[in-house]
């Protein structure tokens, strides 16, 4: 078990620099997720840690040991691949035992450890079978057992759930989380699915174009995203143009909001991010922003409304009630939970409500 430290990592494919000067600290024993849209460099970074991609610059450490030039076979990592990469010509048992055999572990230990992890992953009954007869979820369990049985310093997972169907994905998600806690191993997890990342991670690094946009706990990233990209990538949000001045936020169509905490912010044009659940719909005679319902979608537990607010279309989510309360064409007022919304500079690069600068 060890922490991972990355300093000034550089990755180039020919003349094309994919990652330039990336720093990262992953704490011992945490489940760390690299999250981002496809092509953001998250898998590239993971494969640099694993040793399958060359490192064009910078330093990678496991604990205090620099591993840049260490052979992948000697890094003592466990890796779980997107397509599982189960050896099709070996039984489940032999797949799981493969790493221990390479480490020349004595027979009884090999037998005991392999069985322990087969049991832990609840696949002990398939030990004698060939993997082609297993379901996707079972294959994924074999892959996980195989990666963990060698007691690696670091566990790397490259989109391990993307080939599973939705229900199994949720099930495997908690299985991975439980096992990771039980073994207490430093884990780097790559995914493009933000819900998966939120549910599983201790820390998330949101990546775009080979750079980390925001590094924090799932809660921080959702509630106080570092920039407009993170705000829109994680969850849904409405982005509105506005202007700040003396604690008052002016929106389009002469509408405005105010909050005490905004008094210290610099005056000028801004971008405002208000998540659908940060609005609430009130009757036309209540206080709030004047708005008109244009459309509604009933989804059972919640109802999604499209609302026109000063010429902008915004999305609002309300818990469904037994009566159909708002119809398209209704004039309403929108109340805003001002403490929860986020205000960015006009370029969308900094969250004015966060102290430090990110990105």
């Amino acid at each position: 078990m060890s922490k991972i430290t990355i300093r000034q990592a550089v990755k180039r494919y020919g003349d094309n620099t994919v990652i330039s000067g990336l720093d990262l600290d992953i704490r011992d024993g945490e489940l760390f997720t690299l999250l981002g849209p496809s092509g953001c460099g998250k898998t590239t970074l993971l494969r640099m840690i694993a040793g399958f991609n060359s490192i064009e610059g910078g330093d990678f450490y496991f604990g205090d040991e620099r591993i840049n030039d260490k052979d992948p076979a000697k890094r003592n990592i466990g890796m779980v691949f997107q397509n599982y990469a189960i050896f099709p010509h070996m039984t489940v048992f032999d797949n799981v035992a493969f790493g221990l055999k390479n480490r020349k572990v004595d027979k009884p230990t090999l037998q005991r450890e392999t069985e322990r992890f087969l049991k832990m992953m609840q696949i002990d009954e398939y030990a004698k079978r060939l993997p082609q007869n297993l379901s996707g979820g079972q294959q994924q369990r074999v892959a996980l057992a195989r990666a963990l049985v060698i007691a690696p310093d670091v566990l790397l997972m490259d989109e391990p759930l993307s080939n599973l169907d939705a229900k199994l994905r949720v099930e495997m998600r908690s299985a991975i989380r439980d096992i990771q806690r039980e073994v207490g191993i430093t884990t780097v997890y790559v995914t493009h699915d933000q819900e998966e990342a939120m549910s599983i991670s201790d820390t998330i690094a949101v990546m775009r174009d080979g750079a980390i946009q925001h590094l924090g706990t799932p809660r921080e990233i959702y509630q106080r995203p570092a920039n407009l990209f993170v705000a829109t990538f994680i969850g849904r949000t409405n982005v509105l143009p506005g202007a700040l001045g003396g604690g008052v936020l002016s929106l389009a169509g002469g509408r405005s909001l105010s909050h005490d905490s905004w008094r210290t912010l610099p005056a000028g044009p801004v971008k405002v991010s208000i998540r659908p659940e940060e609005f609430s719909i009130a009757p036309a005679d209540a206080p709030g922003l004047e708005a008109v319902i244009t459309d509604s979608t009933y989804l059972g537990r919640s109802t999604h409304y499209t609302v026109e607010l000063g010429g902008e279309k915004v999305e609002v989510v309300e818990e469904s009630s037994i009566d159909e309360t708002h119809r398209p064409g209704d004039a309403v007022r929108l109340a805003v939970k001002c403490r929860e919304i986020n205000i960015f500079d006009v370029a969308g690069e900094n969250n004015l409500l966060r102290g430090e600068r990110h990105g």
Partner: protein, 550 residues
Amino acid sequence: MAKQNRFRLDIWGWITLVMLGVYALFLIYPMLHLVRMAFTGEGGLTFANFVKFFSKSYYSSTLVNSFKVSLAATATSVLVGVPMAYFFTLYRIRGKKLLRILIIIASMSAPFVGAYAWILLLGRNGVVTNFFSGLFGITMPDIYGFNGMLLVFTTQLFPLIFLYVTGALSKVDNSLLEASQNMGCSGIARFFRVILPLITPTVLAGALLVFIRALSDFGTPMLMGEGYRTFPVILYTEFVGEVSQNKGFASAIAIIAILITTTVFFGQNIVSRRNSFAMNALNTITPKPMKGLHGVLVHAFCYIVVGISILPQVYVIYTSFQKTSGLIYVDGYSLDSWRSMFDKLGRSIQNSIILPALSLVVIILMAVLIAYLSVRRRNPLTGAVDVLSMVPYVIPGTVVGIMLLTSFNRRPLLLSGTMAIMIIALVIRRLPYTIRSSVGILHQIPIAIEEAALSLGSTKMKTFFKITVPMMSSGIVSGAILSWVTMISELSTAMILYTGRTQTLTVSIYTEIIRGNYGVAAAMASLLTILTVISLLVFYRFNKDGDVTM
């Protein structure tokens, strides 16, 4: 992601260098030696050999002859192979599986055995010839020269077109056919306006391969060419000629041969790459039953073509059981030919098993390594290994024999007359079959599986032999069998390289035919056919789809 790996001197780097060394020694050096011999005369550098070839029509006419018969054979192969593939794909034909196997057997047997059988059937004293002239006084068309060669080449080589085109048609989506039918285009019009344009690149690729094969074939023109001398014949007679041996001149002819075949081959590569359509059928064409006259005609066509193609093999086996008196067949049947065959075989049957078997071991080892290098370790050096390994595929066998013999007949590189030189020749000529099939299967194995093994602490070599090779095995085996089948029926290189100790079955058959021992030759040829058929049946066990290509 661009998969260009930089060259690194790890274990695979060393293997790359060793492979380059092997090809430098056994391919590049012999080729350079050939060039040197061709351009040196008594007074140093000379073009006299080339001038001699092109100025005397005795020599240059062989080039014209070769081109004429090869072009004609290409045309007839296309005319037979394309409709055959079309019928096989579109219609339900009785006994399709068997027909397919027979077509492949016809293409895999040694061409000169076919030539010999046709002489027995249609030659001056042939069974069919005598039958027609005795009964109706009809003189059959002359089987010797151009006509006979065209017949042998067509029956032997149309299967290449057939296999290529069936492969292409299996990628044509059925909805394309239905769409054109929907718009009022069906039958023959649809074939010419929709299907043919789609498969043209494939037809071209196959046609050029047929052309190269016909151009390089040695046994057929030797046996039935008579006055119609082709290029490989003149090359052979100039090299081993009893009257006047002229190694420099033979080298010059060899170089001309290499230039022609490689030009055609690379031309083929360019043409097929530029014109190929990326097709992938969601719904493949399902064969439909046929009714009435249409069905009868299609069946007749398929059965007649396959019948003619397989006739030589069948007839050779038949004659091997005929009674002979001295050199001529007489009425009645006996096992005498088989008995005297075993007396005459000497070491040649052993050699025909041992030489290909030893070669196969080397081929399999080199093929998997080269396939791995060219798929997983793409860089300029491995690219060079890949290209070099394909070069011998298009060089006529006679030329390969001459190259090796002249390069390795002095100390310290004295190999002539040994089994080693025969094995080297077989390996470099037949390696491409196994390389291609290994490359094909390696492309289907996700690299993550190897990475998983590495991440679990397995070394590169252990990963290769424990993980990669077992997963490649089906591809390796099917390629190896193709290499094997072509090795046991190989004649042109062996004719140059053999000695009493290293004589192979094909060489024995050839010499018995030349001596007129037809009965013994037939028995030997039957043995060869049986070996080939058994090998192909093994191939089918490993390769259910039966994709015999190349």
